[in-house]
């Protein structure tokens, strides 16, 4: 694991230097061709959290705030802000002279309209996180926006970028159904690139916005988002000079690109669908077989997480060291004792829990509460088809301690209702993206209010009043220094309760043609300052 960490650090450092050098000499003009994995269907990121739409469309829009490469909030449509009333009121000062791509002036009315009529109705994350605590949004003058909350609300500044809250034009959407507005297929934004054409299933063409409010950028004349569903074809297209930028490179092909000086690569924890993701095994705590924490601990100890990192991710990532991603450094608890790989201890725990090895290789129940004697220790494991290798290793590792695992690959559209609505599973693996703040992507995994049919919430069905109270306290506490110990306490509790096993943190590897540069790790305005030499 140490070796992998070292490789990753060196890779990132070397490539960060390469990017920095490239950024010193940007050139104007040129076309950047970006491979995207799916046809987005529409280009309005304010009405969906779908990764396909956000990847293709965010460069057309802006948020009130952006992010720097560490994930911290920086000015975008808002040039400054103040936090008042202990975090219950946020006041934003908007930039002057910003115009929509059709020439109309951008004002605070657009921001208020976007939140009231679009984001809080149709953007799943914004509605779920902010909807219940927001008291109202005011636009006292053209350049001021005020967010009033019912109680102090800590994560707001992390929820205002083009991914979480892209601002759309009031004059385009007012009086219409935002989901059926024709502008969703020919969007008008304030962003660095203007929409030109959308050839369905094939490509989206964007052109430089000459009136962009950040005068120095963009450098590129044109961006083409090319729909290439197959990851292998994406790499071949990069090698063949047909595309210039890939959002991700499959593990087996990374070494080939790395050895070729025509390409550059860098790792980032920002995925198009979310950031700071951890591959996580969920236990269905409603199942009698999994109610005993000794069984869950035994499963955690039977899993060699280093093997997951090596064999599935080819070393791209790190073994998870805490329930919260290490990329949210202030909330990530260091030095926690997560169950270490120890097959003998796992067997001892299973014996103690009443799961005995008899004649068969699979253990059977002898005196387990709520389980008929003689029941075999057999569980199913649900996963997306793309995560099949996780299932294979689960089966192999748990088989070694007498637990039978049956893999059930399910497409995302089937997986979500099976797990969250029907709760028809024993265990599963989900890439839980923590987002830039625990309130955005971590709370949903543990808070008891998040048990229900909504996809990718509390899959375990975990209930702990103390944890609920701590999350509520964390959301109300604005100062980061005071939030850190709260999230540490949460992590200490859940590591004892083990509703999940946190396997590996999964960054993604971007690759691009070496003649291009200036890309940002954050997915939102990733190519705002990008350039390509002829």
């Amino acid at each position: 694991m140490i070796r992998h960490r070292a490789v990753v650090i060196v890779l990132v450092a070397v490539l960060a230097c390469a990017m920095a050098q490239a950024q010193e000499t940007p050139v104007r003009g040129g076309t950047l061709v970006v491979a995207i994995s799916a046809d987005p269907g529409h280009l309005n990121p304010a009405i969906t959290t779908s990764g396909a739409t956000h990847t293709a469309a965010e460069l057309i829009y802006n948020g009130l705030l952006g992010r720097d490469d560490r994930g911290d909030a920086v000015p975008d449509l808002a040039e400054s802000w103040t936090v008042e009333q202990g975090g219950a009121l946020y006041r934003f000062r908007l930039r002057d002279g910003v115009t929509w791509h059709d020439g109309t002036r951008f004002t605070s009315g657009d921001v208020k309209f976007t939140f009231d009529e679009v984001l809080l109705k149709f953007h799943a994350r914004t509605k779920a996180s902010m909807g219940g605590v927001l008291a109202g949004i005011d636009a006292p003058d053209d350049r001021t926006v005020v967010f009033r909350f019912k109680q102090p609300y800590a994560p707001l500044l992390q929820q205002l970028d083009a991914t979480e809250a892209p601002i759309v034009a009031r004059h385009v959407y007012q009086g219409s159904d935002p989901q059926a507005n024709p502008a969703n297929a020919s969007p008008i934004g304030t962003g660095p690139f203007k929409f030109v054409a959308y050839r369905k299933g094939a490509e989206i063409r964007l052109v430089r916005n000459p009136s962009y409010f950040k005068r120095a950028v963009p450098y590129l004349n044109e961006i083409v988002m090319r729909v290439i569903p197959d990851a292998g074809t994406q790499v071949l297209a990069l090698e063949n000079g047909e595309v210039d930028f890939l959002w991700g490179v499959p593990g087996p092909q990374q070494s080939r690109l790395q050895a070729d000086n025509r390409f550059k690569m860098a790792q980032t924890s920002y995925h198009p669908g979310g950031s700071n993701c951890i591959m996580t095994v969920s236990f269905n705590l409603d199942r009698p077989i999994l109610k005993d924490v000794r069984v869950r601990r035994a499963i955690a100890m039977a899993l060699d997480r280093d093997a997951f990192l090596r064999q599935i991710l080819f070393g791209e990532g790190t073994v998870a060291a805490a329930p919260i991603s290490s990329e949210i450094a202030w909330a990530h608890a260091r030095g926690l004792a997560l169950p270490a790989f120890d097959r003998a201890e796992a067997e001892r725990l299973l014996d103690a829990a009443g799961w005995k090895k008899e004649r068969e290789s699979v253990r059977v129940a002898r005196g387990v509460a709520g389980v008929t004697d003689g029941t075999r220790l057999a569980i199913d494991f649900l996963h997306f088809p793309t995560f099949a290798k996780y299932g294979e290793l689960m089966r192999q590792h748990l088989g070694a301690v007498g637990i039978e695992v049956t893999q059930r690959p399910l497409e995302p559209a089937v997986f979500a209702p099976t797990v969250f609505k029907d709760r028809a599973f024993d265990t599963n693996v989900i890439s839980y993206c923590n987002g830039p703040d625990p309130e955005i992507g971590v709370r949903r995994m543990y808070h008891s209010s998040q048990i229900g049919p909504a996809p990718f919430t509390n899959a375990a069905g975990y209930r702990n009043e103390r944890v609920d109270a701590l999350f509520d306290q964390g959301a109300r506490t604005v100062e980061r220094d005071r939030r850190t110990p709260i999230y540490r306490q949460i992590q200490e509790i859940v590591v004892q309760d083990l509703p999940y096993v946190w396997l590996v943190e999964t960054p993604t590897t971007r690759a691009w043609a070496a003649r291009c540069g200036g890309f940002r790790a954050w997915t939102g305005l990733f190519a705002e300052a990008a350039f390509c030499k002829p």
């Binding site: 969906t48 779920a128 299933g201 063409r205 559209a413 089937v414």
Partner: protein, 320 residues
């Protein structure tokens, strides 16, 4: 072919299409999966997903949804795509030309070259060239199209730089006119050849067998006895030998909607195959039903055309 027969064939289309639609509707809705994720994205709360379900009528009982859908179809409205937010007919129509181009080219190439190679193999039956052709045809037919596609992309595209590996046109240049046409042909070459390979092999083998059978018949012996040159003999025999070939080519018309999924995915060809795959993944039910409807109509029309071709190839066949 009498007008009465034509009318009868047309009348048959109505119950066939209606039956297919009902079966497809029930099958798609009974299959596990929830389109709300595609509609709304992840991380919403329960109330939001309930709101979206109600907005798109997904909360209504299945028979009621079927009645509403059938009523719309009768009036020519295939509904709105969940993912695209636009009429299904428009979504399908945008992708149709790319698929017709790909499948049409592949079928044309495989049929013309396949028949020619089949005749060649039949005329040289038992000779080394026949053995080579038959073995090659067997191999080409046995190779999975996605594997062949990847091999073609690695060797003929990246390896030589002669062909692009993806798309219908060059992303960097917005060509127009004849330059655009040439660009499309350049992009079409690999996917069409890969798709044609399997079909070509089948056509070659069918033609060879058909011609050999025909060459052994009495009328061919008579023709030869009368001194007809060998080329004329083969032309005579070919007409009868083509009946099974026409049947197979006609039955492949369903490919227009379904058959090119793998090749379209590997080569990022923006056609109906890709649309079908993504619609299955996102449970975009209205688009799926629209594609099923199109596929069934295509097969019905292709069968009709096949019947017409029979009558043309063999004047003894009459439809009344």
């Amino acid at each position: 072919m009498t007008p009465r027969y034509l009318l009868w064939r047309l009348v048959q289309v109505v119950p066939a299409v209606a039956g297919i639609l009902v079966v497809a509707f029930v099958a798609v809705h009974w299959a596990p999966g929830d389109p709300v994720l595609a509609l709304a994205g992840e991380h919403g709360d329960a109330a939001y997903y309930a709101f979206i379900r109600a907005k798109f009528g997904l909360d209504r009982p299945l028979p009621e949804q079927l009645v509403v859908y059938a009523g719309r179809v009768v009036s020519g409205d295939l509904g709105l795509s969940f993912v695209h937010g636009r009429p299904v007919a428009a979504v399908i129509a945008e992708r149709l030309p790319a698929t017709i181009l790909l499948i049409g080219t592949a079928l044309a190439v495989s049929t013309t070259i396949g028949v020619a190679l089949g005749v060649l193999a039949a005329r040289r039956a038992g000779q080394p060239s026949d053995l080579v052709l038959r073995t090659a045809a067997l191999l080409a037919h046995a190779m999975p199209s996605f594997w062949l596609a990847q091999m073609a992309a690695i060797t003929l595209a990246v390896g030589t730089g002669w062909f692009p590996v993806q798309g219908l046109s060059d992303a960097r240049h917005a060509f127009t006119g004849w330059r655009y046409a040439l660009d499309v042909l350049h992009h079409l070459a690999l996917p069409a050849l890969v798709l044609a390979a399997g079909e070509l092999a089948l056509t070659t083998r069918l033609t060879r067998t058909g011609v050999l059978d025909a060459l052994a018949t009495d009328y061919v012996r008579t023709a030869r006895a009368k001194g007809l040159p060998e080329q004329g003999v083969v032309r005579h025999a070919l007409r009868n030998a083509l009946l099974p070939v026409v049947t197979v080519v006609g039955s492949r018309a369903g490919l227009v909607v379904t058959g090119a999924v793998l090749v379209e995915t590997v080569f990022a060809w923006p056609g109906l195959g890709q649309l079908l795959l993504s619609s299955i993944q996102t449970r975009d039910v209205p688009v799926l039903l629209g594609l099923f409807l199109l596929a069934s109509l295509t097969v019905i029309v292709a069968n009709f055309v096949t019947d017409l071709a029979y009558a043309w190839l063999d004047p003894r066949i009459r439809y009344e």
